[in-house]
C-alpha cells in the first residue's frame, strides 16, 4: 500500500502542510506573546548593555595615593609620570599614613611611596626603591596596580635614557597585544555576551514555550492528531532558530555600531557558527521542557543548566585553564565554550577556519546528542 506513488505523494504534501501550519502557528504566537519578545529582544539588550558598559576589566583611572616623602627634582619627575599615567587617578600626599584609612575603606586601591632616601640612593647607586602598597582584598586589581606601577617606573627610566640620563635596560621586552592592542575589555566581552544571549533564546525561551504547551493541554490535543512527534519538534524549532539568529543579528549590529567593536571576520563565518550553536541550545531547551512539562521547573533548569555554565564555565569571564581539572572536563560539554572564542575571533581576528571548523564540529556533535535525547523523551506518549 505504501508503495502506491500517489499516496506517497499525498503523504508528503500532507507532511509539508502540517509542518507549515505548525511553523505559522508558532510564529504568530511568538509575535503575540510579550514574554517571547522580552526574552528574545529586551533581555539581550539589557545583557549587551551590561557587558558593554557595566562590566569593564579595563583598569583605567584606578585611584591611588602617591606619597612623595621628599620633594627633589628627581622625585617630582617620577611623580609627574605617575600623575600623567592614564591608568591612575592620583591623590598626592606627603605621608603614607594619610592614605592608610583610604586604603582600608577602599577609596584608593594602592599607595605608591617614593621614599625620602630615593633621590640620594639613586644618585649614589644604592639600589633606589619605590614602594607600592596595594589592597590585596581584590587580587585582580592589586595585580594590575602592581603591573602598572612597574610599567610606569620602567617607562620613566626609558624616558630618562632617551634623554641621555641613565643607563639603557639590559633587555628590553617589547609587548604586542594582537587583535586588541588597546586591551579594551569590551572588545571581547561584547562578542562573548552574544553567546549568552543565544543561550537564553535557544534554551530558556524554547523550554518555556514547549513546557507551556504541556501545561495548557494544547500538546495533548496536538498529539491526538495525525502529527508525528518529529513534525511537532521541527515545527517548534524552526521559528526559535530564526528568532535566535535575529536576536544575534541585533546584538552584532549593536556591537559594531554602538560599541565600536571591530568586525574583521566574515558574515558567513558568523552565521555558520551561530547557526550551529543553536542546535545544542535548542536541543537542550527541548530536552528540558520534555522532561519537566512545567514552565516553572523548566525556567529554573534552563537557568542552572544552560545560562550559568555559559556564563561561568565557558571562558567568557574566567579562564578555563585556571579551573580545577574536574571542572575543566565539565566545560567540554558546555557548547558556549566553543562558540565564545570563535565569536571573539570573528570579531577581533578574522576568519580562522581551523578553529571554527573544530568548534562547529563539536557543537554539532553535542547538538545531535541533545536532539536524540529530546526526541526520545518526546515520543507521542503522555506520562
Amino acid at each position: 500500500m505504501s508503495a502506491d506513488p500517489k499516496k506517497r505523494k499525498s503523504e508528503r504534501s500532507g507532511r509539508a502542510r502540517r509542518f507549515a501550519a505548525l511553523v505559522r502557528k508558532e510564529s504568530s504566537q511568538v509575535v503575540r506573546d510579550p514574554s517571547s519578545i522580552l526574552i528574545a529582544f529586551v533581555l539581550p539588550l539589557i545583557l549587551l548593555f551590561l557587558f558593554g558598559y557595566g562590566v569593564s576589566l579595563d583598569t583605567t583611572q584606578t585611584r591611588i595615593g602617591l606619597v612623595v616623602e621628599e620633594a627633589t627634582p628627581l622625585t617630582r619627575d617620577l611623580a609627574a609620570s605617575f600623575q600623567a599615567s592614564r591608568y591612575f587617578a592620583v591623590a598626592n600626599g606627603r605621608d603614607r599614613r594619610e592614605f592608610e584609612d583610604d586604603l582600608i575603606l577602599g577609596r584608593v586601591r594602592g599607595i605608591v611611596v617614593i621614599p625620602a632616601r630615593f633621590a640620594a640612593d639613586h644618585a649614589a647607586g644604592r639600589h633606589p626603591a619605590v614602594q607600592v602598597i596595594v589592597d590585596g582584598s581584590d587580587p585582580n586589581t592589586a595585580n594590575f596596580v602592581q603591573n602598572y606601577a612597574q610599567g610606569t617606573v620602567a617607562n620613566w627610566e626609558r624616558q630618562r635614557t632617551l634623554e641621555g640620563q641613565g643607563q639603557p635596560p639590559a633587555i628590553a621586552a617589547q609587548q604586542r597585544f594582537w587583535f586588541n592592542p588597546e586591551l579594551t575589555s569590551r572588545n571581547f566581552l561584547v562578542p562573548g555576551s552574544i553567546a549568552i544571549v543565544m543561550t537564553l533564546v535557544g534554551t530558556l525561551l524554547t523550554s518555556l514555550v514547549v513546557a507551556r504547551e504541556w501545561e495548557r493541554g494544547t500538546m495533548e490535543a496536538m498529539m491526538a492528531t495525525p502529527v508525528s512527534a518529529a513534525e511537532l519538534l521541527a515545527g517548534k524549532l524552526l521559528p526559535y532558530f530564526i528568532l535566535g539568529l535575529s536576536s544575534m543579528t541585533l546584538c552584532v549590529l549593536l556591537a559594531i555600531f554602538l560599541f565600536g567593536v571591530p568586525f574583521r571576520g566574515s558574515v558567513v563565518a558568523l552565521y555558520a557558527l551561530s547557526a550551529t550553536f543553536l542546535m545544542p541550545a535548542l536541543g537542550q531547551g527541548l530536552l528540558i521542557s520534555a522532561a519537566t512539562k512545567n514552565q516553572f521547573l523548566a525556567s529554573q533548569l534552563a537557568l542552572i543548566s544552560a545560562f550559568l555554565p555559559a556564563f561561568l564555565l565557558s571562558g567568557f569571564l574566567f579562564e578555563i585553564n585556571s579551573m580545577p581539572t574536574i571542572i575543566q572536563w565539565f566545560t567540554y560539554i558546555v557548547p558556549a565554550r566553543y562558540l565564545i572564542p570563535s565569536l571573539q575571533t570573528v570579531f577581533l581576528a578574522g576568519d580562522i577556519w581551523p578553529m571554527f571548523g573544530r568548534a562547529i564540529a563539536v557543537m554539532f556533535l553535542i547538538g545531535c546528542v541533545f536532539f536524540a535525547l529530546a526526541a526520545r523523551s518526546t515520543r507521542k506518549r503522555i506520562g
Partner: protein, 580 residues
Amino acid sequence: MTSGADTGAAAPFVRLAAVSKRFGAAPPALDSIDGVIEGGRITGLVGPDGAGKTTLIRLITGLMLPDEGTVEVLGYGTRKDPASIQAAIGYMPQRFGLYEDLSVQENLDLYADLRGLPLAERGRTFAELLEFTDLARFTTRLAGKLSGGMKQKLGLACALLRKPRLLLLDEPGVGVDPISRRDLWKMVENLTAEGIGVLWSTAYLDEAEACDHVLLLNQGRLLFAGSPPEMTGRVKDRVFRLSGTTGRRRERLARLLDKDGVVDGVIQGEAIRLVMKQGLTPPLLEGSSGSATATPPRFEDAFVDMLGGGPGGRSRLAETQRQFAADGGRPVIEARGLTKRFGDFTAADNITFDIPRGEIFGLLGPNGAGKSTTFKMLCGLLKPTAGEGRVAGFDLRRDAAEARNRLGYMAQKFSLYGDLSVLQNLNFFAGVYGLSGARKRERIGLMTEIFDFGTIHDMSAKDLPLGLKQRLALACAVLHEPEVLFLDEPTSGVDPITRREFWTHINGLVEKGVTVLVTTHFMDEAEYCDRISLIYRGRSIALGSPDEMKARVAGMDLPDPTMEDAFIALVQGSEAKEAA
C-alpha cells in the same frame, strides 16, 4: 485495507479488556476496566474527580499505554497502531486544547492542516462548523478572549474538522453555562445520528442521565455499565418526595436520615427527597405534617444507593457549635448595589440582597457570570467600584481584623497549604484566627475527632484523597466557630457521599444560627439553599427560593421543571426583555 480496520458494522468502536493503570505507589488510577463504546450513540463516562476518567480517555487516544489489559479502538490496538487511531478520532481535552493567543480562524486553520483536511473542502467545512457552533461572528477574535461556552464550541469544531468516527470529549460541560451545555449536547446528538461514536466524560450526574449508555467510574473501578434507566431501575419505587412539611426541614432531614430504612436524603427546595430501602415507605416523624409522594428516581439516587447509602444525619460538628441567638432581625449579610468594573467590562452590576441569620443563600450562575466577583466583594477580597457590602454589620474592607474573625471561608479549589501536614494546617489556621492555649488544643482535638484526622495528622495535605481534602478545608474554615460561612463552589467534583456529609454539617450549622453564602454552578446544589440569586452576565436576573424560581417557569409544556430548566427559561426571558 489493513487488517485491523476491517470491522463489521456491529462491532464496538472501543473495546476495553481488563485495563489497569497505575501511577507510582498510589492505588491504581484504573483497576481492571472492561467495557465497550459503540458507534451512533453517546456514551457517558461518569464519575467524580479523580475517578480515572481522563486517564481512561488518554488510554483510548493511544497517548498513554495501560499497564495491563488491552485497548482496541476502531479495530486498531493502541499499543501497535496509535497513528491510525489518531487519524480517525476527534479529541477535545479538558481545557479544549485551544491556542489562546491565536484567533478562532487561526485555530481552525491549524487543526485543519494538522488533520489534513483537503483545501477544496475547507470553505464548506469551515462554514458548516462555524454555523453549527454559531461562531461565524467571532472568527477574528482570539480564542483566549472567548467565553467558556464559546471556547467549548470552538474546541468541538476543531475536533470535528475532519469528521471523526469516534469523538472523545473530556468534561466538556465544566465551567460552561447550562444554555451552552444544552446547545453542545444537541450538536453532539446530531453527530450520533450520522453514526459517530461519542464519549462524553462528566462529573455531573444529571448529564449522565441523558446519555444512551453509561460507564460509571469511582476510585478507578467500574461500578456500572449500561443504560441510565437500568441504573435508576435499582431504586425504582424507592424514591419519595416529602412536601408540604411544616417546621424546619433541615432538622427533619437530619432526623430522617438516622431512621432505619432511609438510604439517602437531600433537601430539594421546600421538600425533602428520600431514598428508602426496598419495600419501605418514608417514616413519619412526630409533630410534622406533610405528605410523601413517590417520585421518579434520578441517577444520583442510584449512585448513592450503589455506594451503600449516604451518611447519617447527625453532625457532631454542629452539635458542638455554640448557638447564635437570633437578633433583632437585622440581616447578617447585606449587598447594596454592589458593582465591579474591570476597565470597560462590568463583572457585577448593581447586585442587591439581604441574608438573615440562619439562612443558606446561593449565588447561582455559570463561570464568568459574576458570582465569584460578587462573592469576593462581600468577603473583602475585591473592592467594589460602587455600592457596599456588609457582613455582621461590618464593611470588611474597613473594619478588617475583628470582623474577619467572625467569618469562615472555603475557596473554590482546594486552597490549603499542600506541603503542610494536616495538623500543621489546623495549627496554622487556629493561630491566624487567634486561638491559643487550651482553646486551640480543644478545637483542634475536636476537629480531629469529628473528621477522623487522627491517623493522617502527619500526611501532607496535597497527598490526601479529594474527599479528605474537602473535609480538611471545612475543618479549617470552622475552627474558630464563625457566625458566617463563605463557601465558593464547595463540592464541585466530589463524590456524592462526601457531598452529603458536607451538607449534613452545613445544615446542622445553619440550624445553630450560622449564616451561609454559597456560590455554585451546580443546579442540584442550588436546591439545598433557602434562597438563591441567579447571576447572569453580571446581573442578578432572579431572586427567590428554588421552588419559587421553578414555579415561575412552570407551564403547559413544562409541568415539573428542573432547576436547570428554570435557569434556562429565566435567562432566555431576561435576554428577551433586554432585546425588547
